[in-house]
Symmetry: C2
Subunit: 194 residues, 2 copies
């Protein structure tokens, strides 16, 4: 998605450890018009899949997920993060390790909001090691919900999340695919395909 | 806002301690079309105020805030919640006590996203004791930003947040004003004014 790549080049900052900081438009300050364009793109890409529900994880996934839900006219459920939850009967839960924060969290979704009748689209802001997506897969499995696809705003294709989703046989659409960093420079997969 | 009140009557549940649970459309599962309608209403109400930025607090404020930002075409910044942050130079921070969770959190906003040039609209999902709004007021004061208004999706007018905002002289617009609970019944201010 050209508009998104352009914005990453203008406002993103590359930090040590191959971290891309996009807090100016995606995960602290949010550009609602760009989020709407992102939602349009996901809604277009997954329009034929019979999606009944969008899942994401708080907090940075919410804006792109809700904009996609607006254009597919389906509800969005955002998983809550907790340090740990004692077993609660009415929740689906999964463990998610964050490589950037070096902490483990549980994520949870109330059982009443996900069922075997659902065809789920997973939306998130970033795909790197895919821990959050893996956690949402586990929650979908617990609910016996069908996973129709995963839509990632920004993907670092050289990390393990990409392959994890492919291995599971889930359709993956990422709107900006980063292939490498060179100093402060960001390279996209589209550079070689355009 | 009639559509919102209707939805509260259909899907909300009153829990002990005058807690209204609206996790079916606002703060766990989210109805994007309703959020868009809420954003339209806030954008209409505050259209003449010269708003330059919307502030909210993660996570439940994000969906209504981003939908308002979409229709006012201004950026949204969501404050991050932390257990506590060691003093960090580049953050505005405030302490927020949650009566429902009985825990204290710090909220923070990066200094680069808020300045004395901003006219701020604060959006949040719930106004009860107003602790989150108070925290955002403190952050605006630190930034010397002007507070143009506060837009609350649901307000419990009988709790202290309403008066706190009025005392500060800030314009307050709440889309559903709850005046009392009677068992499982919810009463709105609009019942007496319509």
């Amino acid at each position: 998605m050209r508009q998104l790549e352009q914005r990453i080049l203008e406002d993103g900052r590359v930090l040590p450890g191959e971290v891309l900081k996009v807090d100016g438009f995606l995960n602290h300050q949010v550009d609602p018009d760009l989020m709407f364009a992102i939602g349009s793109e996901f809604a277009y890409l997954f329009r034929g899949e019979g999606i009944t529900k969008i899942l994401t994880v708080e907090s940075s996934g919410i804006a792109p997920a809700v904009m996609t839900g607006l254009q597919l006219h389906v509800p969005v459920v955002f998983a809550r993060k907790h340090k740990s939850v004692t077993l609660i009967d009415d929740l689906f839960t999964a463990e998610v390790y964050s490589y950037t924060k070096k902490t483990s969290n549980q994520i949870s979704i109330a059982k009443k909001f996900l069922s075997a009748d659902d065809k789920v689209l997973i939306i998130d802001d970033f795909l790197a090691n895919g821990q959050a997506v893996q956690g949402l897969f586990e929650i979908c499995d617990q609910a016996k919900a069908e996973i129709a696809g995963a839509g990632m705003v920004i993907e670092k294709v050289f990390q393990t999340g990409h392959q994890m989703i492919k291995d599971r046989g889930v359709r993956l659409e990422s709107l900006a695919q980063i292939t490498s960093f060179e100093g402060n420079q960001v390279h996209f997969a589209s550079e070689t395909t355009d």
